[in-house]
Symmetry: C2
Subunit: 402 residues, 2 copies
């Protein structure tokens, strides 16, 4: 009847795990605040319509759906699962951010620099590093059409990561307009662009043969796929050269070049133009980017420009750009390298005994409270019969016993 | 298709709202940490079995239920709503805490002092101060059978509230064992105790007549109800006198008296023994208490001892005691009294113009980053055509323009 483990793929966090998670969030908040970003928050429950509009890519298959209640459930057509559904748990923070902005833009001054962190939910098959409840940390600038947005976002995220003693970063950067031009160049039908890119993004995961098979199913012939893949096969291509024979405006390469040169001057990072970089979401419209850190295969942060998404909620053409840090990956990496949290306040522990008169106990409690006001961590415990064991444990936890 | 407002009864939080919420959480974390409590965290999604075991009282009627997925949904008996359900959103933090403890007790040293904050979910009819997503902040001591638990919890919570400039607190205190004795005294059948207390707890909300009617339905006759109500009708009863003619051990009143005298010495609070205090949950076993603050009708914090709950998950008899602060109420009250957050760092804003050469922009960005390292809040924006309006807005946000 009573179940002790968390639900499948979700996690409890004990104090030692929480200390690290909270430390990372504190550093993040400090850093993003210093860049003039302000914290916002949105509910974990979202309208099912907003979650299933085809912009969430593969995530839309992983939605936790909430059942209607009461009369509405009784009146639902039981044979149609969709009619049972009331709402869903969000799978990312971008949909809620755009909804929040659309609902409040008249009260916000532009450009709007925001950060948001919170849990998202995905009904994934649980495996190492993949959870059904995952902390996401997003940083966004809404209303900035110039590349100041990309430059500031990238600088802020790398500054944050540096404070956690990550180093030797590589920033991979590409542009959705270059991908569009590549698709034109390979004569792939433009109406297939979203599905083509989403499938191509799975290259690392499912391998070339499976990607080709999926693309064939979409009606894209092998010669076109080959032409595309051949063009992007060159290692470390030069951005300007690469764009030369593509059907694309000069400004796209120029803009990307400006981001690269400026960011290089501002922070210590290697930057690679990476035409194979796709990013899974269909809503990106311009530069897209990912950060890789030494000692880890995957990206630890990813983002890009999504200039058309807000229009779908507001009919206002407002540019936007975002960068999201893979919080759960960061924690995993920090734990793997036995990261130690910088030292905090003194911890002291008072001992009471059962035999003490109430007055004496009260005196100890008073003294404890005075020390707490000095920001010391003070615990009060009754002395155990097995004092040796208790003492060892308290000292292990860093307490000085008084 | 795209919906701008949050789902019914849930809220987005804009930067000015988040600043207050985050400030309150920071003060709370600092205070609880100084009392030797450590932060834990549990998922928002919980086993439906754990949420529907009759210990959640009225909250069990308000569960957001999550639909099964894939094959499991296909195989569900569509005419039985329960067979459609996979899990649910938690309605409080006590169930998950006890589950976490049951699952990890072998790695935790007792007494375990924990605090946890996070959102809970209740499908309430939305109204002022009642939300479907609500922040809860719990403080618990597991494994402490003496009243040191109650004393420390009450002191910690009042210390936290004092730092938010609340004052003139009243602590209402009662004991479930006194309630049990009252029930014996009024000859109400002991197997009706849970339902009797839950119904009685609605006195403020639904009035005496409705309470009586509900109790009649439970098979409790009016003369017994009258005997009970008559005994608790005296204003400001003296604890020792009150217990004199009840079938109850002397130690219960003695224990409660000890809590009252000690807490009074430790902090500035008025304490009232309140035999009408019930608290809605059936799991309480000993002292129960609520904090009232000047200028607000309801309680702003409530809690009590629940010594039998952990046994249901572990078969171990482990005492426990908790205190929960009504975070959403606190925020509402702070907003009502125009609480101002103590001042923070300097905020400065650099202006760029479209005409600036990239080099000059980069220099400004470099200078901005240097200031950010000094923990200043630094924003960079492009100068607008309507500079007067932009300047006013930035200054309103507290930025000094450079």
């Amino acid at each position: 009847m009573y179940i002790k483990t968390p639900t499948k793929g979700m996690r409890d966090f004990l104090p030692n795990e929480m200390r690290l998670r909270e430390y990372v969030l504190t550093i993040m908040k400090e850093t993003y605040t210093s860049f003039g970003f302000e914290q916002i928050s949105t509910p974990a429950v979202e309208h099912i319509e907003n979650l299933t509009n085809n912009e969430g890519g593969e995530n839309e298959k992983l939605i936790f759906k909430i059942l209607k209640r009461g009369e509405k459930l009784e009146n639902a057509k039981k044979d149609d699962p969709n009619s049972l559904i009331d709402s869903g748990l969000r799978y990312d923070l971008t949909v809620p951010l755009v909804r929040l902005f659309a609902n409040n833009h008249q009260n916000l001054s532009l450009p709007f620099r925001s950060f948001q962190y919170g849990y998202s939910y995905r009904a994934e098959r649980p495996q190492k590093g993949r959870y059904r409840e995952l902390m996401q940390c997003d940083l966004d600038i809404i209303g900035e059409k110039t590349n100041l947005a990309e430059i500031e976002l990238i600088t802020a995220v790398i500054t944050f990561l540096e404070k956690l003693q990550f180093n030797n970063f590589t920033l991979k950067i590409n542009d959705r307009q270059i991908l569009k031009a590549l698709i034109n160049y390979a004569q792939i039908p433009i109406d297939k662009i979203d599905n083509f890119l989403i499938t191509l993004d799975k290259l690392d995961k499912i391998g070339l043969d499976n990607v080709k098979e999926e693309l064939n199913k979409l009606g894209i012939s092998n010669d076109k796929i080959e032409k595309y893949l051949q063009k992007i096969s060159e290692e470390n291509p030069n951005l300007t050269d690469f764009c030369q024979d593509l059907p694309i405006a000069k400004e796209v390469a120029q803009n990307l070049n400006e981001i690269i040169t400026t960011v290089k001057k501002l922070i210590n990072v290697e930057i690679k133009f990476e035409p194979t970089l796709v990013r899974g979401m269909s809503y990106y419209t311009g530069p897209i980017f990912e950060i890789m850190a030494e000692g880890y295969q995957g990206a630890i942060a990813g983002g890009g420009r999504y200039d058309n998404m807000i229009e779908k909620y507001t009919n206002l053409q407002v540019p936007a750009c975002g960068f999201s840090v893979g919080f759960e990956r960061l924690i995993m990496l920090l734990e793997e390298k036995n990261f130690t949290i910088p030292n905090k306040n003194e911890k002291i522990c008072y001992l009471l005994t059962k035999e003490m008169p109430q007055e004496e106990k009260t005196k100890i409690l008073e003294e404890a409270n005075q020390n707490r006001q000095k920001n010391q961590t003070v615990k009060i415990v009754y002395k155990n019969k097995n004092y040796k064991f208790q003492k060892d444990n308290l000292e292990k936890e860093g307490y000085k016993i008084i």
